[in-house]
Symmetry: C2
Subunit: 350 residues, 2 copies
């Protein structure tokens, strides 16, 4: 019997945020790939595109015209997944056909009037303005009596279902706490009730000691590849102090977060020297008016690419039916991301 | 206040198998799509492809040569995610760094020697031979003392990460019960302990009464769009009687299942008149030697396409961070699938 080596033997790891195991197969990283490859677009986009419905002054599909905005611009999504209407509903009870109306608001946040930019290419000061708007939106929407959760996120890149390269994110604010958030909350709460401390605060302290999965650190935040990461280059930005939600952020912390986002996304772009696709989003306290001492602000980055700009990790078959699975280990990914420059390759090569 | 209408108002539905809610947005089905589109290949493939590593008599990447098989052929995956080796491991306890070695076996099942076929284009008798092999493999692998779960599945189509069009599926057999299966088991067990009956048996009875989401029915099986389906054209094949696993299948039942698989996948191909991509797989009792009176055999089909052969549903951003979301309702999908012929379009047009 040889002894177990986590760099070469299949194993499972536990995700304490979701109370779930994932399968890690380090020995599989080198299998040949003959499957689907992704298109990569390297064209230089114009600063203003007359056909883009997110650009300043352009008309959207529903006939409305965007103002001549500069900087960040927020509007209600023309094709939202939620509606504000309060509807009459008589609850039925049934084991199999449980259904509840859901109210909410979908918004789009343009990060900049400049069509050609992405977060890593924006100035920290301009990213901070995005964080300012996230903070304001979280507060404004969260204060509505029928909004109990505000999900802020960004889908970047065609491969992530993003239909427009104009730098933008979304907010889906709704009455219910969504399934995944509610699960994370349960586990944060369980830990807090047991230990009287924040799960993520304690976790980050340990990770800083070990220093094997940390890719960036500043005054207020840490960026790391979680021990239980599923996506090949998944990362998480966590606040060092236990901040429950965006409202608690100081000006300095907003600047710190902006700077961390710029550096993480720059490393991403530098990995394969392309505009790196991902879905990213913030997990923070619900806005249900209850106390949430157990919540701890963090931001997830879920990027799909595996070994090159063209080859992504497919979460299919086994992953859909049984369990998330990854090939390259989180420690290998962290080492690679750590080694990459925080100067964007487009600037380096100038 | 208007009264709630599930055909036009956003709502959440409850999935009792996973104890999870999903978001349904019927009003969103008509939004314009300007994002990524999928390539569709309509070429006629040869019955034998000299470059295919799954075809009879060809050499695989690792140098081994396939026998001159006819019909179903099974072999160990050359690039498995699991390894058979038993390794020495001293358990460490930690809140954040829980890790366990995982043993297992990955196999590939070629459904036919004919490179150009897919399940809907195979004869029922030949699909039955695939079911026979699933049964044998489940039994053989499940009898190994270190195998406690046998996941049988198929990834079909490039968009589902399938790198080879040769008709084939996979088996991942392992020591642990994977996260998703273990969650389904928990909920099946909870229901069984409470009611003394099978959750899925009772559910199917109700669905047959309502007859709104049933798309096919034969002597032994029902195919339906679950009330809580996530993927636009997701379906589930469920045995009418409570069968815990494949071993319990009679010859007739294996034939019935084969026929059901042929009909479901034919309807899928007929939907957009292409070879319809999906991930499909079987959920059944674990092979951990314990009694599982709560288990009820079913097969999930998770197809990614949304409105056409080119436009898929992206499970990104909100879905990765918060909750699964769908546009078209399960009832609309069921009506469409029900209306489609069980004669394959390629034959119809002959
Ligand atoms: O084993 P394959 O077919 O090469 O690989 C495919 O299916 C596996 C099981 O669903 C996934 O882990 C892979 O990401 C996918 O590309
Ligand atoms: O709203 P968008 O950007 O058009 O749509 C995209 O993001 C949404 C939220 O993650 C998803 O539900 C859609 O499937 C995806 O295409």
């Amino acid at each position: 019997k040889s002894s177990f080596n986590q760099k070469s033997h299949p194993h499972r790891r536990y995700n304490p945020l979701l109370d779930e195991w994932i399968l890690v197969s380090p020995q599989r990283a080198n299998r040949p790939w003959q499957g689907q490859t992704e298109k990569t677009l390297q064209e230089q986009l114009p600063a203003h595109d007359p056909n883009c419905y997110l650009c300043s002054g352009n008309v959207r599909v529903n006939g409305e015209r965007n103002p001549d905005y500069k900087g960040v611009y927020v509007f209600d999504n023309d094709f939202g997944s939620l509606m504000k209407d309060d509807v009459e509903f008589s609850e039925e009870t049934s084991d199999f056909f449980l259904l509840k109306p859901e109210r909410g608001i979908n918004r789009v946040i343009c990060f900049s009037e400049n069509h050609s930019l992405t977060l890593p290419e924006m100035e920290v000061g301009d990213i901070k303005k995005v964080v300012d708007v996230w903070q304001k939106q979280y507060e404004e929407l969260g204060n509505l009596d029928y909004i109990n959760h505000v999900q802020i996120f960004e889908n970047k890149g065609q491969v992530m279902g993003c239909s427009n390269p104009h730098p933008h994110g979304q907010i889906w604010a709704q009455s219910s706490i969504p399934s995944i958030v509610s699960k994370a909350q349960e586990n944060l709460k369980k830990y807090f009730d047991k230990n009287g401390t924040s799960l993520l605060e304690d976790y980050v302290k340990k990770e800083l000691e070990i220093n094997e999965r940390i890719i960036l650190e500043n005054e207020d935040f840490v960026a790391l590849v979680p021990f239980w990461a599923v996506w090949p280059y998944e990362t998480m930005i966590v606040s060092k102090r236990k901040i429950e939600d965006l409202i608690e952020f100081s000006e300095e912390e907003k600047h710190s977060l902006a700077s961390m986002i710029k550096d993480v996304t720059t490393k991403y772009d530098n990995l394969f020297e392309i505009s790196f696709p991902y879905s990213a989003g913030i997990h923070q306290s619900p806005t249900d008016g209850k106390l949430h001492p157990d919540w701890h602000f963090h931001m997830h980055f879920y990027p799909p690419l595996l070994r090159s700009a063209e080859v992504k990790k497919f979460m299919v078959g086994y992953e859909m039916l049984a369990e998330a699975q990854r090939d390259i280990t989180p420690e290998q990914s962290a080492a690679i991301l750590k080694s990459l420059s925080v100067t964007h390759y487009k600037i380096q090569s100038k």
